[in-house]
């Protein structure tokens, strides 16, 4: 089985290195094909490993080689395949494979086709390292690796100012969170003497509570960056500057869930600090609502889906924070399927619309793009949590978990957010596919995507529909690893009321969205309508003015302060002091060189001056020696 582990891990690396050989060359179709095949190999291996674990096999643990070994610190390149990592591996390789295949079509006309696959495969490798590592340092390697690839892929079209800006923003914001993560690692190391998961988790119970709280908080700060939780969330929406397959893979299905994975992986730790858990759950709930509210009014198709991702990440954190790790993991998996599907569908639409992103400029695309329409609609139903699609099972369990644990506020907010989710999802679907045709006035002739792109989406479509039936086997698999328990509402009546009530609420929102946006008189908003001038619309549309706030109160001051430090402090104070000292010495020389005029009589006069000074000095010393007793007693009287 170890063989499959290595194949699953290293096939993406091989793919990346192979593709990178051709980065400077014009498009080569075989690069994309080979890369896709290699990722498929990785996927097959992951599936084999998955069945092995699902069949009750022992977790596989290998140690490739030593990485860092100094002092008491020992970090190997160790990898583990257990119930948690195999789930992640399955999700990551499946989505990656499909996105690779899809990208063959999507990036068809891009001159940097080969470079795209190099980065994309490198990302898959980093992500595999992240989920398969058996220690926190390895996780951190993957963590930074996905950050790097995300930087490279957001800024893939590097000639676009907005893209490179967004790439740098994402990288730097993640770095802020990574500092928290690093501190968490330091704390773990100095308190448990290791960074290996098994060692660390066997010892966490011995640590005192306040240390554990700090560790929990710092690790979670790391998770907040990667999973774009408030207040580090702004990068995710800006990351939509990257190519759409990248958004599907990295900024929806895999990388952004790394934070959730970290919390799930550290479950023995978080179990011991329920205070932190509540904090995580509350923040998650807040983000779920907060992001959904921004999605309500946004006018950028990809950003709407990005906000919905953010919102769903909030759900996952809410579940993980409440100790329902398996539910979080299950929602992570289900979300990966339908969200990737949604993004790839959006990619088709973008292709068809020549990179137009405003859904108000689309409309009535369902005739032209039938399959895309079907898939995106189903994905939206899944996202909204309509029975019997994937989202229903995962999201409903989160609500139940919150309810059973008596966190009614969290439950209420999440329930309300579910309604919002349904609304904005179908606002998008209605605007894109239904209503009147608004694109022809912009001279666009849409067409359906290549067949194989649609086929690449088919497995996601399939899983988005049937993922629900996997819930029971999944639960049985992770039951032991995650200490999972089922959430049963004792009263049968309450259970059914909740279930049906939720469904009714969601379906009502969907109908409302359709009624509002599936119309033939929709026009492209121009900022004059009454809705658009309302305060709450403006606040939501400007993302609560948070990006503005960051720009004005963090970025600008930093830039100005830097300039100030350089021009005013470094040059005018520090360096000027050094030069000042040199200048004093130089000027003293310049002033006194007059003595060396070469004129004998002047020199003689200076000689006399020197003589006088020496005489005075000798006299003073003589007197001081003569009266030393008195001087000393005088000084001691002064207290020196």
């Amino acid at each position: 089985m170890e063989k499959y582990l290595y194949i699953a891990l290293f096939a993406p690396l091989v793919s990346s290195l192979f593709s990178s050989l051709f980065t400077a060359k014009p498009k080569k179709q075989f690069v994309g094909v080979i890369a896709s095949l290699l990722i498929a190999t990785s996927f097959v291996s992951s599936v084999i490993l998955g069945f092995y674990i699902l069949g009750g096999g022992e977790a596989i643990h290998v140690e490739l080689m030593t990485w860092i070994n100094t002092g008491g610190l020992y970090i190997p390149f160790g990898f583990v395949v257990d119930e948690i990592s195999v789930t992640m591996m399955f999700v990551v390789t499946l989505v990656s494979m499909l996105v690779h295949i899809y990208s063959n079509g999507y990036m068809d006309h891009d001159p940097s086709f080969n470079r795209f696959f190099a980065w994309l495969s490198a990302f898959v490798f980093s992500m595999m390292v992240l989920v398969m590592s058996d220690n926190f340092a390895g996780l951190f390697i993957g963590w930074e690796g996905v950050g790097l690839c995300s930087w490279g892929l957001i800024g893939f079209w590097y000639y676009k100012e907005s893209a490179t800006w967004a790439a740098n923003e994402a990288f730097i914001m993640n770095r802020i969170a990574d500092l928290g993560m690093l501190i968490g690692l330091f704390l773990l190391y100095w308190n448990t003497g290791s960074l290996q998961y098994d060692v660390v988790f066997s010892k966490v119970a011995l640590l005192d509570h306040s240390t554990l709280i700090w560790i929990g908080i710092f690790l979670f700060i790391g998770a907040m960056g990667k999973s774009a939780q408030f207040p580090l969330h702004t990068w995710l929406a800006d990351a939509m500057e990257g190519p759409t397959p990248v958004s599907a893979l990295i900024h929806a299905a895999t990388m952004v869930t790394a934070g959730v994975y970290l919390v799930i992986r550290s479950n023995p730790l978080y179990d011991l600090v329920p205070e932190v858990g509540i904090f995580i759950a509350s923040l998650g709930t807040f983000v779920a609502f907060f992001a959904a509210s921004m999605a309500l009014v946004n006018r950028d198709m990809k950003r709407i889906i990005a906000y919905s991702t953010l919102s769903q990440l909030g759900y996952m954190f809410a579940a993980a924070g409440l100790g329902a790790y398996w539910v979080a993991l299950f929602h992570l998996m289900a979300h990966a399927f339908f969200k990737a599907l949604l993004f790839l569908g959006a990619g088709n639409v973008m292709h068809a619309m020549h990179d137009e992103l405003d859904p108000f400029k689309m409309g009535a695309l369902k005739e032209k793009m039938k399959w895309t329409w079907i898939m995106m609609t189903v994905a939206s139903f899944a996202l909204a949590g309509v029975f019997p699609l994937a989202g229903f099972f995962s999201k409903d369990t989160i609500l139940e978990a919150a309810f059973v644990d008596h966190h009614y506020v969290i439950y209420g907010v999440l329930l309300f957010t579910a309604a919002l989710t349904a609304f904005y999802s179908f606002r998008l679907v209605a605007l894109i596919f239904h209503g009147n045709d608004r694109y022809s006035q912009f001279g666009i002739h849409p067409h359906e995507a290549y067949n194989y792109m649609l086929w690449a989406m088919a497995p996601l479509f399939f899983f988005a529909i049937i993922a629900g039936i996997m819930q029971t086997p999944f639960f049985e698999m992770v039951e032991e690893a995650l200490n999972a328990r089922e959430y049963h509402i004792h009263s049968e009546a309450v259970k059914w009321i909740m279930l049906i009530g939720t469904q009714v609420l969601v379906i009502a929102s969907i109908f409302y969205a359709y009624r509002k946006y599936n119309r033939n008189d929709i026009t492209v908003p121009d900022g004059t309508s009454k809705t658009e001038n309302r305060l709450c619309y403006k606040v939501l549309f400007n993302q609560y003015y948070i990006p503005y706030f960051y720009e004005e109160y963090l970025v600008k001051p930093y830039r100005e302060l830097s300039g100030l430090f350089w021009k005013k402090f470094d040059l005018r104070v520090v360096d000027a002091t050094v030069d000042g000292i040199a200048k004093i010495l130089y000027n003293t020389g310049e002033e006194t060189r007059g003595m060396q005029s070469g004129n004998l009589s002047v020199m003689l006069r200076w000689m006399v001056v020197g003589l006088v000074i020496l005489l005075i000095f000798a006299g003073a010393v003589g007197l001081a020696v003569r009266y030393s007793d008195k001087i000393l007693s005088f000084l001691s009287a002064l207290g020196v």
């Binding site: 060396q596 004129n599 004998l600 009589s601 006399v608």
Partner: protein
Amino acid sequence: MEIGLSHYLILSTILFGIGLYGVMSRKNLLMLFFATEILLNSVNIGFAAISHYLGDLTGQMFAFFVIAIAASEVAVGLGLLVVWFKRHNRIDLDEMMSMRG
């Protein structure tokens, strides 16, 4: 009034002052030599007087040394002065600026 040590030393100081003034104010090299001689001789008087006062001959020996050195100095110095005068036709100190830094 008996002539005592202090009188000699006062004389020596006065002569030293005159010599010092001469060294500082004279521009003519020859005059400078004279002033230097006065300086040296003021020291000689001091040496001799103290030697006598202490009853130790070392001071007088030093005075002789100084006289010998002063004589040789004048000999060499005047030789150089003559050469300088022949070359430049002047012996004004202010014009001897070849050592200017």
